[in-house]
């Protein structure tokens, strides 16, 4: 089994500060981290490797600093990591991102055929969830999104059973490998990294490729040029007016809420 996990470097939106003047994110204030969903994707690969054997590669497209998240992935249990980094990739929307990543995956699979690709459900910054399914299309392999469990991998029949979250429940799917999964956070808990992994990660140098290291690349499909979507404008939504403020002390305020609730009494006894 050769599993490739796609990992993205994102600003930590939990720590990030908002610039009160422009109402936008102050990127410098935010430490860059491994997209939390991608940590779960790497952990999923680790569990599969433990059960079925194999090797785990991680792949990221991003600035040179993104080597940090590849090291982080090695800490969780990846065996090796690839970073594709080039000015030509900059400004990519999801269509251009999936294009660049699929070209890198082509090269990786030439070195060692890929059985399974795992992505996060979405990245916490761009937050579209479109890159994974896009890659699957480009490689013409089945995508399974919103995965909450990989229940059964059969190396002989090359089929895998997967639980996929849907509205109000889940579905059990069987699909062919190679395939691409995008995972939800609830799929697993990230285990503490064993010491040897930490040591390996600290010393690890990822394999770094530029556009020129990839084959058959149509440069017009990369980066800003290859992106059909653009951000037209940013705006602060008009401030809503707000409603009625309830006065008095806490007792009075609670009483006014009770009155509102009593006016809607029918709601308490639905069904």
């Amino acid at each position: 089994m050769h599993i490739v996990v796609c990992v993205k470097q994102v600003p930590d939106t939990k720590i990030i500060k908002i610039n009160p003047k422009t109402n936008t994110l102050d990127r410098r204030s935010a430490p860059a981290i491994l997209n939390p969903y991608d940590a779960h994707a790497v952990q999923t690969a680790v569990s599969i490797k433990e059960a079925a054997g194999g090797e785990i590669s991680v792949l990221s497209m991003g600035p040179p600093q993104a080597v940090d998240i590849i090291k982080k992935s090695v800490e969780i249990g990846a065996d090796r990591g690839y970073l594709i980094t080039d000015r030509a990739f900059a400004g990519a929307d999801t269509l251009a991102t999936s294009y660049a990543l699929s070209k890198a995956l082509d090269r990786i699979s030439k070195e060692k055929p890929i059985d399974l690709i795992i992505c996060g459900k979405h990245a916490i910054d761009g937050d579209t969830g479109q890159v994974g399914p896009g890659i699957a299309r480009r490689l013409d392999i089945p995508p399974v999104t919103n995965v909450i469990e990989v229940s059964d991998i059969n190396k002989d029949t090359r089929r895998v059973k997967i639980k996929r979250k849907i509205i109000n429940g889940y579905e059990l799917i069987e699909t062919e490998m190679p395939c691409l999964l995008t995972v939800e956070k609830e799929i697993n808990d990230i285990a503490y990294s064993p010491l040897p992994n930490m040591i390996k990660a600290a010393r690890y140098t990822p394999i770094i490729w530029a556009v020129s290291d990839l084959e058959d690349v149509d440069r017009t499909q990369l980066g800003l040029k290859g992106s059909p979507t653009i951000v037209g404008k940013m705006f602060t939504p008009p401030k809503p007016e707000g409603g009625h403020m309830l006065d008095g002390n806490a007792d009075d305020q609670a009483k006014q809420i009770i009155d509102i609730l009593l006016q809607n009494k029918e709601l308490f006894s639905v069904n």
Binding site: T13, P143, H244, M245, A250, F268
Partner: protein, 340 residues
């Protein structure tokens, strides 16, 4: 390529039932189509679903494109994607909207890749620039109370997924008429790589989206123990419990209780927002609730901007009093509260 015409809505059906978001999109699509003076079409895929076409017309469509096949009995990316691409390549719409549900996002991402066009994710506002026939799809941009309008100038169709419960469906109008166009899809089950073995509905877990009252707590509750007050009030009212992302990250609630951009979108009759600042990512998930009651100790908290009733105060003081008064009020009136 820019000659494409018409506004399309992907109509998601599950077991013969149309998803609410698809009806909402027919309402939103109707407005765009009227501005552009083009027909609005619903795209319907499935097995034996033709009879739903009429419903789609009642909710605003002029045309319904139907693809039926046993292979489409259950949603699968590979078959649904093929059906949608077939229609889009043949009839060339200029705007194509999908509900931002797991299946809607899934099929839209695959279709956008094949058509080599742009796809705006999780839109919460839609408009159109008539002269240039440009779809203006806006979504909350990460961090800050800010929205980004995403455009797709040079590629058609212009596609977007749209959050459930932010657009309004039209009244069902049985007097409306329209045209139904059927297409067939040449795929056989043997060619399918994916099988759906089983669909398991979680009936024990009542979806937050169905709750009539939701009590939602934020980081302002202080700690997990105090958050118990949120559960207590919700218990008394037979209401659903919600939380902000910060609350979920803190581990006070599981992710399926998160309300907002990366959680559920809800529109209950009554929504309590307690100790919640009102970041845009939270507001997009709840601001269309009918009555919003906010409690926050900061009078400038943005949550008061969307609230119907606001209390500036300490939730830890107000809530216990509210709970006590509620118990008394119902005791006095002899009212029985049956939990939903």
């Amino acid at each position: 390529m820019l000659d494409n015409r018409g506004v399309w809505v992907y109509v998601e059906q599950n077991e013969g039932v149309i998803e609410g978001v698809s009806l909402e999109l027919l309402g939103a699509g109707r407005k765009l189509a009227d501005k552009l003076e083009v027909p609005l079409a619903g795209i319907l895929l499935g097995d034996n679903v033709r009879e739903l076409a009429e419903e789609i017309i009642f909710y605003g469509a002029d045309e319904v494109y139907v693809v039926e096949s046993p292979v489409l009995k259950q949603y699968r990316t590979e078959s649904y994607m093929k059906g949608v691409i077939l229609l889009a390549e043949k009839y060339k719409p200029e705007i194509f909207l999908y509900g931002a549900t797991p299946n809607g996002k899934d099929v839209a991402s695959a279709v956008a890749t094949d058509l080599s066009t742009g796809l705006t994710a999780d839109t919460t506002m839609l408009d159109v620039e008539v002269e240039k026939r440009l779809l203006e799809a806006s979504r909350p941009a990460f961090g800050g109370n800010i929205m980004a309008t995403i455009l797709c100038k040079k590629h058609r169709p212009q596609m977007a997924t749209v959050r459930p419960k932010v657009m309004k469906a039209l009244e069902r109008d049985t007097a409306r008429t329209g045209r139904v166009i059927e297409e067939s899809l040449e795929i056989r089950e043997e060619d399918m790589r994916t099988k759906v073995l089983e669909i398991v509905k979680d009936v024990t877990k009542k979806s937050l989206a169905d709750a009539h009252i939701i009590v939602c707590g934020g980081k302002g509750m202080g700690d997990e123990r105090n958050f118990g007050l949120i559960h207590e009030l919700a218990g008394l009212l037979g209401a659903g419990v919600g939380g902000t992302r910060d609350v979920v990250e803190a581990g006070w609630l599981s992710h399926d209780h998160q309300i907002g951009q990366t959680g559920e979108t809800v529109t209950p009759k009554i929504y309590f927002a307690i100790g919640i600042s009102g970041a845009i990512q939270h507001l997009v998930g709840m601001k269309n609730s009918e009555i919003i009651i906010a409690i926050n100790k900061d009078p400038n908290a943005p949550i008061f901007g969307v609230s119907t009733y606001g209390i500036v105060g300490d939730a830890l003081e107000v809530l216990p009093i509210l709970i006590k008064q509620f118990k008394e009020a119902f005791h006095e009136k002899g009212g029985e509260v049956t939990h939903a």
